[in-house]
Every structure is written in C-alpha cells, then in structure tokens.
Amino acid sequence: MAAKEGQLQTPAAEADTLLALRKRPRVGESLIQAFLFLCGILSVFTTIGIVYELSKESLLFFTRQQWESTNKPIVEDIEATWTSFEVGTSGSAVDIGDTVRLEHEVMLVTDIQRDRLIVERGVDGTVPAVHRAGMDLEIAEQVTLREFFGKTEWNPQIGKYGIWALINATMVTSLIALSIALPLGLGVAIFLSEYATLRTRSILKPILEVLSGVPTVVYGYFALTFVTPLLRSMLGRDTVEIYNTAAAGLVMGVLILPIVSSMSEDALSAVPNSLREAAYALGATKLETALKVILPAAFSGITAAFIVAASRAIGETMIVAVAAGAGPKFTFNPFEAAETMTGHIVRISGGDLSYNSLDYNSIFAIGLMLFLMTLVLNIISQQVVRRFREEYE
C-alpha cells in the first residue's frame, strides 16, 4: 500500500504499532528466570535438608529404646502366670518403674522387695511365657539429654553417651591450633600489609595460599609421620603417645594460618592510607602506626578472621582422624590420644554402617552439635563485621 506524503496513519495501523510496542509475554524468558530462581533456592533446601535430617535422626537417638544386660540371672523357673520372682543380687541396679525384658517378653517393674521383683507381665503387646532359671534380665535404656550433656564418658558398647569426652578433645585440638594460628597469622598479615614490598607480597601470598590448598588428609599424614616423631624425640617417648592431640592441633594450626593471615590482611589493607600518613606525621614509628592505629581500625575484620578460623578448626576432620587417636577419652593432656567429634564420626562410619543402629543415629546427634557450634560461630563473625565495622570515606 503506497502511503501518500503527509497522510496520517489509519486508526487500524496505529493500533498495530501500539500492539507491537507493548510488552509481549515471553514464555522462554519466564521459564529461564524460574529455573535460575530454583538454582538459588536449592541452597536453602540444602540447609533445610541438613537441619531436618540431623534433627530427625538425633531425635531417634534420644528416643530409641535399647536393651542392656543387667547381669542379673533369674534364680528359679518362672511360670507364665507369676507376677513376682527372685533375681540374682549381683549386676546393675533395677528400680521401680523400669522396663525389663526376659527373652522376648517385656515387663514393667511395679515394686521391689529385696531381690524379689513384682512385675506386670506381658506389656508392650508381648505374651507372658515360661522362663528358665539362669536367664539374664535385660533392662531398657534410653540416652537422656541429661546423660548426653552431663557425662564425660563416651562408650556406646557399654551404653555410655557423654558427649563431653568428644567435645573436650575437639576443644583441646582447636585451642592448640588457634594458639598457633592466631598470633602467627596476625604477624604474617601485619608483615604483608604494612612492611612487605609489593614484590615480596606477590611472592609470599601465593605460597601461603598453597598451604591452605593442601588436602587435609596430607596434613594428617604430616602430623603422624613428622610432627609426632619430632615431639616424641623432644619430650620423650613416655610423655608423648603415638597418637596425640598436640601433633594434630599443631598441624591444624598450620592449616588455618592462611585463613587468619589472608582475612586479616584484607582487613588491614582496607584501612585507608590517610590514617597511616596522619600517624607518621605525628611522629609515630611504623610499629606504633601498625599496632595503635591500623590494627584497631581493622578490628572487626580481624575478629571475624579469628572466629572463622575457630569454626574451621572445630569442623576439621582428617588431621584428627589420622593423628589424634581412635577411642574417646576425657583428658586435658595434649600428649594423650583422644577422639574428637569429627574423628569419631569418621571412625564409626567407615565401612557398612547399618541404618537401624544407635551408632548410625549417634553420628547425627554429634553432627547436629557440630553444625550448631560452627553455625553460631559463623553468625557471630558476620555480626561482628556488620556491627563493629569502622567506615572510612
């Protein structure tokens, strides 16, 4: 259609143009956006998955009933109708209200007269039956929160579930690691940010990065085959055991040193140069500038680095699994073997672990503790950065 010069568009053509300019629905674009949103939300599902699985199995850990031998044999044959019988005097104590078991029959203890138990037969849907003399009486045990947090012995074979044996070892290794990594890491950071020339820095930083890139199992090997023999030759073979928390802690300190140094160095470098120049102009030496002006200004970043390092030390696994020893033990002596929370998880989950065992559930209970501890530390570190950050413009 040939348009005449100066002629206005027909109303129909005008509507067409408007329609063409209007935002068209783009199905493809929306689908892509939805997919990308799903990718983002997946990380939230991961967290939910972690929390849900850890809590669910931990709950099973605390509610699961398991039968333990009392080492009390019954002294006479018991008929199915009897509601009281005598048991041996030895073995562990039975109290009123306890649930006990003979073979497959479950009973409730209603009263105790010396060595005679008065029981309610056939509870929990079991059938009263005849039992022969000498049969061992079993008692139902549950892991209580009070035992979990109140006891210092962890030995699932004999029903001891005191988490402090494991937490204590974690604390010992982490404290040793931090006492190495914090001062050294801060020293490295101050050197790199305040003293080193650009050239030195560009050489040293990658070398330190290599330290944090070495797989932790290699550090474990190093602790066991180098640091432990070194400690033993220096302090005596009687003082230092082959597996000990000191070697594991020291090497862990080396592992987290680059974390402390690089995060602290970032914080120090972020302090504007005007502060340094002002301090120099007032006659401060390099050291005084670094320690009294720059360090306080970078306080929040350095604290965050320390906390992140602590959280990393608590969750560190392979070094302690290799070098700290197998077998939970409540000890403050760093030269003795002790098993940390992570080390314990690795040891009992090696091999085919049956899904319906208390061991399987206990992994999750310990894991939940570990998760909460590191989560709290990470949140604190983020808060510190947010709350105490000094802004210079």
Partner: protein, 417 residues
C-alpha cells in the same frame, strides 16, 4: 584560672631518649612479623620434604626363593615363554593350588605378565624387611650398611615408590605391588559428577542473584544462606549425603530403578552418591566465585545491550556470561581442587577402602585417592607409609595441574578486561 598555666616548652632533646627505645622496639617486632611468615614457609617445605623423604629411598627385600634361580638355566624370569613360566609355577606350588589356577583359566592361554604376577605372589614372595628414607639413603649410608647385617638374605635396592607401575596397577593387599589406578579413576569419576551437578546449578544461582534478584527478603535469605553454607564443615555434607543420597535415594543412586542391579542387593554407596555429595559441598564455593566474576563485568556492557533492545536473558547469555566465563571457570576449577582433596565426606558416604576393580560407571562402588591415602596412613606397617607418600605425590600433581589451569585462565582473563 589555675589550670590555665603556660605549659613548659619542650625541646627536641626531651623526645630523644624515648626515640631509641621506640626504634628498637620497632625493629624487634619487625623480626617477629618476618619470623611468623618464615614459619609458614618452613612448615610447607618440611611437609614437602617429609613426603619426598618417604616416597623414595633404599629398601631391603627378602625373597623366599631367588627369582633368577627359578628358570634353572640362569635366564631371568622375564625372558621365559608362557609354557616355561607355567612349568616353573607347577614345580613350585602345591598340586592343589596349581589345579585351582588352571580351573580359573588355563595358564597356557594367559599372558606372560599374568603368570609372572602369580609366580611373584606365590613363589618368590618378595617382602620388604627394612626401608630407609631418602635422606638416609644419601647421607647415612654407613648406618644403612650397619643395619643390613641383620638381614643377610636381603637384596638392597633404591626404590622409587612412585613409578609407572604404581599409577597403572590396581589396589593390592601387598604394599610392594599395590597401585592407585582404581583410586585415580574413582577420584576422576566423583569430581566429574560433582562438576556436572554443581556447575550448572551454581552458575544458575549466581546469575539469579546478580542479574535477576531484587532486594527482597527472600533473596537476602538466599544470599545469607549461601554464605553460611560455605562455612559448614565438610563432614556435615557427608552426613547429609549419607541420609539423602545413600539412604533415601538408594533406588536411584544404586541404579536399581534403572534395572541395573537387583533391588534386594542395591547399595547406595556409589560413585553417584559421592559425586552429588561433593557437588553440594562445592556449590556455595562455585556460587560465590561466579558472583564475583559476574560482578566484575562492567555495567556499560549490559546497558549497551539493553539499549539495542535485548531481553534480560539475551543480555546475560550473549554479553555477561561470555565476559565472566573465564572468571567463572577459574572459580569452578578452584572449587574442584577442593573437591578432589576431600576425604571426610566420602568416608561418611561410604567409600570402600579395598577395591581392586576399576569403577565402571556412576553406579559402581569406588575408592578415591584421598581415601586410599587415609587408609594406608592408618595401617600399622611402615611400608604402607611409603605408598601413602607416593599416593600423596600423585594427588599433589593432580591438584597442581588443576591449579595451573586456573592460573592460566586467570591470566588470560585479566588481560582481556
């Protein structure tokens, strides 16, 4: 007022006595700072020395029978034909054992290497009775010859625990003939799956957060959550993998749902479960690294594209991603090098420690290099320390090549922008 006194004027001399002390203090602390840096480097050197020290060195090997005397005419075993080797074997093992070998597959039909292996395993039985470090092999030879007196029958040779045979032979209970072939393949399989799982999802999430997400509470939760996930200990991911991939999704991860294995014997402790666990582990790292790369793309590029009428996805796909790609790849490779060294989550997910066959696919059982190192390190016999050191060398070389790739990519990337 009384406190409005004129201060006594100070001369430069008043400051001088202090100055000396302050300068000394400054120098002293500078030494401390330098020393802390030196400690880090010294430990790194000690670590490398310790590994090299154990990966090479003299060994004393005792053989039940002298290998060269077996042929009877002074020829080395390697020069014999299959028939002659079979004869040697028949002569030296019990009749029952020989029949068992024959029933497993006629000896005449086997390759000479295979029979040679059998002869070494059953007849020669080489056993390491003593081994020395690389350091001792060079500088303490007199000590070695003193100690050798205790082993009159032993043959001494310089052993490089890492060699071609170590890389190409599968795992074995005998340290002398154990290799890391299955472990290397297992490692490659798991990180391949971790990459296929983590890369698209991680980059997708990064694009969403950088290019699409408005500042809403939901998006802030996602971002905070990713930062927190990066700080979760790796063993927790192992526990998650055990609960979700190994147990809950067992029909999928064992391959039973595809009819590959019998449902009754299905076991979720497979390459697939391990790879997905590692994928989840490196997901936050990939997201954070990719976000940095996308942030670095100048806004003018996006605006130019929008100005030409491009849609949001067109802007992302043809402008932002090509510019950010090398940064994203660098970050991903660094995340993969983290994954390849991870041990704890794989132990929890259930890597098998003793596997002599190559992983054949995502549904096979597996072992990985770090797992192998862990297992050998914790064995009580000293000789396993040597092969653990050799395996560490292999692992470090793999890591080094991954990181070198990342550095090359990073350099190209810096040149372009």
């Amino acid at each position: 007022m009384s406190n409005h006194q004129q201060p006594t004027p100070r001369t430069p001399a008043d400051f001088r006595p202090d100055l000396k002390r302050r300068k000394r203090q400054g120098n002293m602390w500078q030494v401390v700072f330098r020393a802390s840096t030196a400690v880090g480097i010294i430990v790194l050197l000690a670590l490398l020395f310790n590994i090299a020290n154990t990966a090479f060195g003299y060994v004393a090997v005792e053989e039940s029978v002298d290998a060269d005397s077996l042929s009877g005419d002074g020829r080395a075993l390697e020069q014999l034909t299959v028939a002659e080797l079979a004869a040697v074997l028949e002569e030296n093992v019990s009749a029952g054992l020989y029949r068992r070998f024959q029933s497993e597959g006629p000896l005449e039909a086997r390759s000479p290497e295979e029979i040679l292996e059998l002869i070494y395993e059953r007849v020669v039985e080489p056993k390491v009775v003593a081994q020395w470090t690389l350091f001792a092999s060079f500088f303490q030879r007199s000590r070695i010859s003193d100690e050798l007196v205790a082993y009159p029958d032993a043959e001494v040779r310089f052993e490089s625990w890492i060699d071609l045979a170590f890389i190409t032979t599968p795992q074995s209970a005998d340290a002398m003939r154990a290799g890391v072939r299955t472990a290397i393949l297992g490692s490659l399989w798991t990180i391949l799956i971790a990459f296929l799982f983590g890369f698209p999802l991680g980059v997708g999430a990064a694009i969403y957060l950088e290019e699409y997400a408005a500042d809403t509470p939901v998006n802030r939760v996602i971002q905070t959550n990713i930062n927190n996930l990066a700080g979760v200990p790796s063993i927790i991911y192992g526990i998650l993998g055990l609960a979700i991939f190994v147990r809950l999704l067992e029909p999928v991860t064992s391959g039973a749902i595809f009819g590959l294995v019998d449902a009754t014997t299905a076991n979720g402790r497979t390459v697939l479960s391990a790879g997905m666990t590692l994928g989840l582990l490196i997901l936050p790292l990939i997201i954070i690294n990719s976000q940095e790369a996308i942030k670095a793309v100048p806004n003018s590029l996006r605006e130019a594209a929008y100005g030409l009428g491009a849609t949001r996805w067109q802007v992302v796909w043809s402008h932002v991603l090509p510019s950010a790609l090398s940064g994203i790849l660098t970050g991903t490779i660094l995340a993969m090098s983290r994954a390849i060294g991870e041990t704890a989550p794989l132990v929890v997910v259930g890597a098998s420690t003793y596997i002599t066959f190559d992983p054949s696919g995502p549904f096979s059982k597996f072992t990985t290099l770090p797992i192998q190192i862990f297992q050998w390190t914790t064995r009580p016999q000293d000789v396993f320390r040597n092969i653990a050191a050799a395996a560490i060398v292999v692992l470090l070389i793999m890591l080094l090549s991954l990181n070198a790739t990342a550095v090359v990519l990073r350099n190209r990337y810096q040149q372009r922008l």
